[in-house]
Symmetry: C2
């Protein structure tokens, strides 16, 4: 089969890590007889520099014309001083909205060979750690109306409609069915009207999934439980703002944020796949970055956008094998371990496919 993939390298280490992911994808294409056609487009700081805007219309058009999107990372100190409307983040938020990507999936799991890197004591993860945060991505206070009063007071409208909560809730329950059958919905329903709509709607949707266990946590408690006993979670279903916070917390509990992929999905098969780590400007261009999160993101792409489960498995197994063999980039290496560069890590994974 032939697939068109929009490639948005972005800023910082973005270009290097995306190049390694493409290297691995090309190997998958060769082994399984597919064809991946890449179409590059600009986003974030790179787009600001070239076109004066973090999300050119051409980039949106390119993405919409493709079967999926790979994104590296956006942002860096160079663009930090710009006004809000012109910053790299705005490109990221814009693309999520323009492509209708309302589900953000962030799996956080321990890779056995890297279990040492977990910041928690071993007894805290005795039950393992294999959860996915299912974060709503195109609503909430992120996209509500914003303004300043004359006296300088800042306002953001936090809101969720019933339809917005329903569609993400269905995704979470269906995903739980493929996993351990457990959804934890996180909100602040003891304080927020938005959260009360969220909770009532999730409760109603839950009735359609009697085979899935569901519980409800307040966000402050969820932030604690992630540290105290992360093994209790399977699918964490939450809104855009709480999902931002909890998915970052969950990811650092694995101890290797350089390993963690993400998928952003909508109603169609078109999805956007990106590592959850940032653009790491300090090591950009030095061949030091860890490409694994990006490679695993493209495995999610093969699975969710293209329906190529065997190919996704092959790519994920290749990553597991290089880890078992002791291949490490700087971020995941222990003091006495030999460190591979970004491109060597890409080669090693490609060789295992």
């Amino acid at each position: 089969m032939k697939y068109a993939i929009a490639v948005l390298k972005g800023d910082g280490i973005g270009p290097e890590i995306v190049a390694e992911a493409q290297k691995c994808l090309d190997e998958v294409a060769k082994r399984f007889g597919h064809e991946f056609a890449y179409r590059e487009a600009l986003v974030g700081g790179a787009a600001i520099d070239a076109c004066g805007t973090p999300l050119p219309q051409e980039t949106i058009d390119t993405c919409l014309a493709c079967d999926s999107v790979i994104l590296g990372a956006v942002g860096g100190p160079k663009w930090d001083g710009l006004p809000a409307e012109m910053r790299p983040e705005k490109g990221l938020l814009g693309i999520r909205k323009e492509l209708g990507l309302f589900v953000n999936l962030r799996p956080a799991k321990l890779h056995a060979p890297l279990a040492d890197a977990c910041p928690l004591k071993p007894e805290r993860i005795a039950d393992g750690l294999d959860l996915v945060v299912c974060r709503e991505l195109t609503g909430d206070v992120y996209f509500g109306a914003k303004h300043r009063d004359e006296d300088g007071t800042g306002h953001d409208d936090m809101n969720y409609s019933i339809a917005e909560v329903e569609r993400i809730a269905h995704r979470a329950f269906r995903m739980a069915r493929q996993r351990q059958g457990h959804v934890t919905s996180v909100d602040k329903a003891n304080v927020l009207e938005t959260s009360r709509v969220w909770r009532e709607t999730v409760q109603r949707v839950a009735l359609e999934y009697p085979d899935v266990a569901v519980d409800y946590l307040y966000v402050d408690n969820a932030a604690m439980q992630l540290v105290l006993n992360p093994g209790q979670f399977d699918v964490i279903l939450t809104g855009n703002l709480f999902g931002d916070i909890l998915s970052d917390e969950a990811s650092c509990i694995t101890g290797s944020i350089g390993m963690l992929p993400s998928a952003s999905l909508g109603e169609t098969n078109l999805g956007m796949y990106e590592p959850i780590h940032g653009s790491a400007p300090d090591i950009a261009g030095k061949n030091k970055a860890n490409p694994i999160a990006t490679v695993l993101s493209t495995a999610m792409m093969l699975r969710y956008s293209f329906g190529l489960a065997a190919e996704a498995d092959a790519l994920e197994r290749a990553v597991e094998r290089v880890l078992e063999k002791g291949c490490r980039t700087g971020d995941i290496a222990k003091a006495d371990e030999r460190v591979l560069g970004c491109s060597d890590m890409g080669d090693a994974i490609a060789a295992e496919i």
Copy 2:
């Protein structure tokens, strides 16, 4: 000196833990020649049961007529089904607002004898852990206008005025001067207008404290840094919603939430002091609760509302000594340790003053 203290025992374990705190306060009074006059009032579920509202006007009046307020804990499954306006939490939010308590201080530190309980690996806390979250408590999306549209969409207005940010920022910077001289302001200024007002205002206030180091983190990053390297923090300055999440996360990183006090302060000396843990309905009335967080909260009361630093030190040292002697309630005991009941723990602390 004579001080009037409003005592709001609340629900669940509230009455037991407050009783032990009073026992210790009475011992302080005896040793140092003070007089503490207690005036009880109802809040939370207890007030709902007795008066049909979680915060009777009489309770507000009692608090305003006293020099400080001790609160046990509010809430429990009995009242969970009530409509939002009638729930115990509403009493807590109401009292914060009515008393103008816009600063919430939550110190999180490791007690050396309990360091084992920390869920993080020892190397993660090599720099120690002694931070205080300085959370704004009467603004933000907590108190913004709430409504539902006709189609059922829920809305909450997130907002901060410049004056609200200024007054809490000054508190944080002044507090940092008494500590390690470092403020970390946490917001989501890359997305929220409210946060941009927050950050600009903190930056302006910071100019008045050139001796205090200040940095700015996005809330998602702060949630990570608390797990990865909590020793980097001294004073965390943040809004009501982010403060709710981060202070709970910070507290569980100490491994003993039953130990952690809090103070809520306003423009006057009147403050409210409460443990950060909840009402623990499962162990209520069984003499199993840990009164230490409440005792340490009253130490904060002695210091902040009454200006009695020596008395506060004496109470805090008494707690350290009982811990060193191996006194433990169930929540902080290891498998082989002898467990004290709530009242025995109160006796032990009182005996050390």
